[in-house]
Chain length 685, copies 2
């Protein structure tokens, strides 16, 4: 390359260099380290390397581009255009050759390390760099005079054509190698898994010719109560389907400790629970493949995040030790292994599994995933991150250091152990307001954007009905009951005489608040009982005590901002959470939602292999606080039981008829989108 | 260490150094790189580090050793001596401390890299350096304030106490980690497998406390007709049990090509054959463990050698491509994997398997094992190595290079396809002499050292009977028939009239030679038929043609020496093999037997991990000759069909009444033991 050769400038990277006439754009891009995709390695068949040449004057780049800057449209491009169609102005980077100075734009979809569009609330973008990628390769035919095996010739081809230093393959792959190579006339596409730990890349799958049906991974958030999976396109990062099911282990115990007890009390109980969750995972994976209309064999990776007890039960390890001090994990490191070791048989038989590292005996891979997603260790201000679930993961920190703990909140926040509780599904009450004067409720159910006092609500909810109350609904209900004077500081529901409303109805020796009564039509009667209040009080006290414990450790009484995460963290009203005393006080605009941050962490680890090394390092730097042995935790827990007397701090809130929910301002570092956004419909989230 | 400190001299290594008073012998040995074993790491419980101090004057070493050279016999040694007994003069190297100048002898059994005593006929010694070893380790107890997992603390202990940089473990191991650590009060013994390919050592097994029941490996020679296994103590290298069974694939075809055909003709036929051989291996492994009275879970490694078709069928790969040019192997490299991938479930569930590399489509891991055992590439003179079996592996070479080919001899040499043929087992005729004048035979059967014309033969063979004729027997029979004039050059058996003996009996349109007739008592009638002669002619022609082809390639008409190998190679009479024309002519004292060289190669790879890297390198340097496409092979094959007219070249041979068999002089490089040796009893070899 000399200065006399044509200059090529790539946008948006700005990378530039001189290349001899006739150099293909793809070759120039590779030499300059420009991020331009290619699966077929420049053979004009995969079309991943599409680029757009720009013509005219480019003073910014100091280039003038003439019409003959590139070689003429060729037969390969014409054939591809006829067959699949190329967007106007596009060329194939492997075919178009540099003839003169030129400016080349690499469109986002042609970038190998594409950035995945994330929901605005999310803290960080995902850069595509998955462990598993497709490679098209031409393999030498066998030759009696140099009698190497087919696998060895495939390895050589990958080394020569893709600079893959070494490969390995399971027997099941080797056993299909010979027929596949011959079917593809020694041109094949392989799915190669490059772990961040092993040098040798693993051949997960092989197809004759160019494989165009894609490649997928599953990011799985394995919770105590629910299992959520996101089927992700490993080339684009797009989530093509999401699905969730209840964790079948619930029948062995609703919370973690009751499952540990089940295992202690019943010989082989851990094996039962392991088998149950693995079976559910197979069902979930098969269903999600059907939903996305893909062959389940195209799912070649899974990433799991889960708490330590789920982690051990998934792996087939008795969680016995997690039930008693010192809460020793069998293993705390990340785990990379074959998915079939977890009996995941409904996906590709050679699929790989990655499980994020655990932080401590009570702070699991889910907390690590939240740390990966929310990056408290990179925050300038002090951030408190609360991942709400049956077990809450709590992180507090900034650039100077991060503390973590977990808190056993129980399943009340997820609608379990609540008299009219149900999981977040169409028909569930998810938001509620109680008029401070009339004590009359109005509410909204999942599947309908109208409030119950708005016109058309009955018609709109006819199909779903009003079936119960979910986690975010019960939190709002309790907070609203307190704000409207239905509840005293200790959490006692007043009688009709005390509160002046006939909705306060006697129930045994206590009272309940009637939200909705369809019993006349054979429908449900939805109340908040004294027992429900107690369950929420216990849960919120545990959550608050955990957060306070970390603040004590850090020596602070306030935090700069709070992030609510968790499968339903996105749906919790920050105001109501604060009224209830779930979270420490903070300016309302400093409370944001990260959605399912653990699930997002799983997606990041699925789509970006470097993130795996990153979180493994990060986890080692987090200081773990064990709530179970901290005397202060008990103090905070007891103190947090009350629901302090407060006047409504935001009276204007009750004037807004259609309240956006979540009603936070996104306060993350990606700029904060003030104002309201239309909430997404929630179905099986 | 200064010169003023006491001097310690280790024998036999001669390594020496000065050490501060009070330094334990084991510590000094480690610092000097002296080969002194220890499993417990110097805690006085494993007794592997026993040494013998020498007292008095040692002018050779320039040392005078006083009685107080070592610290006094201590309580740990006394306890061990009381419990297990120490040989007189022995001390524990971890307990005895250097107090003054001393000479320390490390007895062979205390050497970590012990040399295994080999049979005199074998070409090379085995230095113990197995991939899997025991390590006793003390693990930190869990601590809530540094909440690492048990596996991570085990890894740290192995790193600190044994300098193991990294470990990995299967889920099945991790799931037993916590109870085992607690049962052993955080003192455990682990079996660690250090592959020559992976940096991380793999934890194969864990036991509470010090594990003293040993560790074993299986070296398996997987032949087309028989499967032989040697159960080897991985600490001492001693073969504690050997066992063999017929390869059950025989029912799908006697030779390799008929099995390939079976697979081609029957969809799923390869799967049937794979299942059959894997089941047989499980049976064999279970039986051998019972025979050796060990727990089969103590078998943590297996090494396989086999020809390419057996290799593919073992691995579950359809051998289709091996049945047609260009005879492409699915994979030619060595394979390191979990034994359970081969469905080997009767041994330790985490046992590892190593399969030697294949050389070419027709030259397999068995040939590689012969090369590892016999080392033709290190030979000063030109050596021809013939591994006789259903498929013969032939190597020719010296330091300047090695050639290899295989030749499809068929199963006749193993007694199959022979009218009275049987495998080598008690009762089989294994040696025969025919008087050139009277044409009367005398023979010997396996299980009895007497010849049939010696006194007491009938009584001695009463229990076994005389049941048939095995491979070495049929070779001798045909050669003796030729030498005694019963057979002409073309291999035709003469009639009674032509040969002058009533033992030449008509059979159809040809004749047979009657060796033994017990039909009057309901026993067998053992003859050599014209069909048997033809089968042996085909087999020996194939063998000879392969050897000649390599000699042509090398441009020689003679070789310096010949090594006969193979499961029954040790039992073939070199003289008769040469008379028959199985092997090229050579001085009789230059023909030696290597016994089962392939099996020995498997044992070497089992006991010495560096040998695996060595053979992988060697295999790449061997030049492969494909017999199937060499026109000259056909020429040689046809030319070799005759049994040339020869006068008995060694008439004195027939005068010896009790002839040692094998009757060769060991001509290997280890010095050649001239004269006779008593042959070992052969049972199920």
């Amino acid at each position: 390359m000399s200065d006399a050769d044509p200059l090529v400038v790539f946008t948006p990277s700005g990378k530039r260099g001189h290349f001899a006439k006739g150099t293909p754009i793809l070759t120039a891009a590779r030499q300059l380290g420009v991020d331009l995709d290619s699966v077929c390695g420049g053979r004009g068949i995969c079309s991943k390397c599409q680029i757009t040449p720009s013509y005219g004057e480019f003073p910014k780049h100091g280039v003038s581009v003439a019409k003959d800057a590139l070689s003429e449209w060729n037969a390969v491009e014409q054939r591809y255009d006829d067959k699949r169609g190329l967007k106007p102005g596009r060329r194939l980077g492997c075919q178009a050759q540099i003839m003169n100075d030129v400016v080349i734009d690499v469109p986002p979809e042609s970038q190998l390390h594409k950035q995945v569009v994330r929901k605005a609330a999310s803290a960080r973008a995902i850069i595509m760099d998955p462990a598993t990628r497709l490679y098209f390769v031409e393999v030498d035919e066998p030759d009696m005079h140099t009698p190497t095996g087919d696998l060895e010739r495939l390895a050589r081809a990958l080394s020569e054509q893709w600079e893959i230093p070494a490969i390995r393959a399971d027997l099941t792959l080797i056993s299909k190698l010979q027929p596949t190579l011959r079917k593809g006339k020694f041109q094949v596409t392989v799915a190669l898994h490059k772990s961040h730990k092993d040098e040798a890349a693993r051949v997960l799958e092989i197809w004759p010719g160019l494989h165009e049906a894609g490649l997928y991974g599953l990011a799985i958030d394995l919770g105590s109560t629910t299992i959520a999976a996101h089927l992700t396109d490993l080339e684009t990062g797009v989530v093509v389907a999401s699905s969730g099911i209840m964790n079948p282990q619930i029948r062995f115990g609703e919370d973690l400790m009751s499952r540990v007890s089940y295992s202690m009390m019943n010989p082989g109980g851990d094996k039962e629970m392991t088998a149950a969750v693995r079976e559910a995972l197979n069902t979930l994976a098969a269903e999600i493949a059907v939903e996305a209309e893909i062959d389940a064999d195209l799912i070649v990776e899974t990433v799991f995040v889960c708490n330590p007890v789920m982690h051990h039960l998934l792996l087939g390890i008795d969680p016995f030790e997690l039930g008693q001090a010192p809460f020793a994990l069998a293993t705390s490191s990340s785990i990379s292994m074959a998915a079939h070791e977890l009996d995941l048989t409904s996906i590709n038989p050679r699929a790989r599994t990655y499980i994020l590292p655990c932080i401590a005996g009570h702070v699991g891979a889910d907390a690590a995933a939240v740390a990966l997603s929310e990056e408290p260790g990179k925050s300038d201000d002090l951030v408190l991150i609360i991942d709400v679930g049956t077990n809450a993961e709590i992180l507090l920190g900034d650039k100077s250091g991060v503390l973590a703990c977990s808190s056993p909140t129980g399943p009340a926040f997820e609608g379990a152990q609540i008299s009219a509780g149900q999981r977040a599904a169409p028909g569930a009450i998810e938001a509620i307001r109680i008029d401070p004067t009339s004590k009359e409720p109005r509410f909204r159910v999942i599947g309908c954007d109208l409030w119950s006092d708005e016109e058309g609500f009955d018609e709109a909810t006819e199909s779903t009905g009003i079936t119960g109350i979910c986690g975010s609904g019960i939190i709002e209900a309790v907070a609203e009951m307190r704000m409207s004077g239905l509840l005293d500081e200790n959490g006692l529901i007043g009688s009709a005489a005390q509160t002046g409303t006939s909705r306060a109805i006697p129930e045994g020796r206590t009272h309940a608040y009637l939200i909705h009564d369809a019993s006349a039509e054979g429908g449900p009667r939805i109340t908040v009982t004294q027992g429900d209040i107690r369950a929420i009080q216990l849960a919120k006290s545990a959550l608050y005590a955990g957060a306070r414990l970390l603040m004590d450790e850090r020596g602070v009484d306030n935090v700069d901002r709070i992030v609510l995460a968790g499968a339903f963290g996105a749906h919790i009203s920050s105001l109501h959470a604060m009224v209830l005393g779930m979270i420490p006080d903070a300016p309302l605009d400093k409370v944001s939602s990260a959605g399912n941050a653990a699930g997002t962490g799983a997606r990041i680890a699925l789509c970006n292999v470097a993130a795996r090394a990153e979180i493994e390092k990060t986890v080692g730097e987090i200081t773990k606080i064990e709530t179970a042995i901290a005397p202060k935790f008990q103090d905070h827990f007891v103190a947090a039981n009350a629901i302090p007397h407060k006047t409504d701090p935001f009276p204007e809130l009750h004037k807004i008829v259609t309240l956006p929910n979540p009603n936070f301002n996104a306060g993350g570092r990606d700029g904060g989108e003030g104002g309201r956004r239309r909430r997404r419909k929630r179905s099986e989230a």
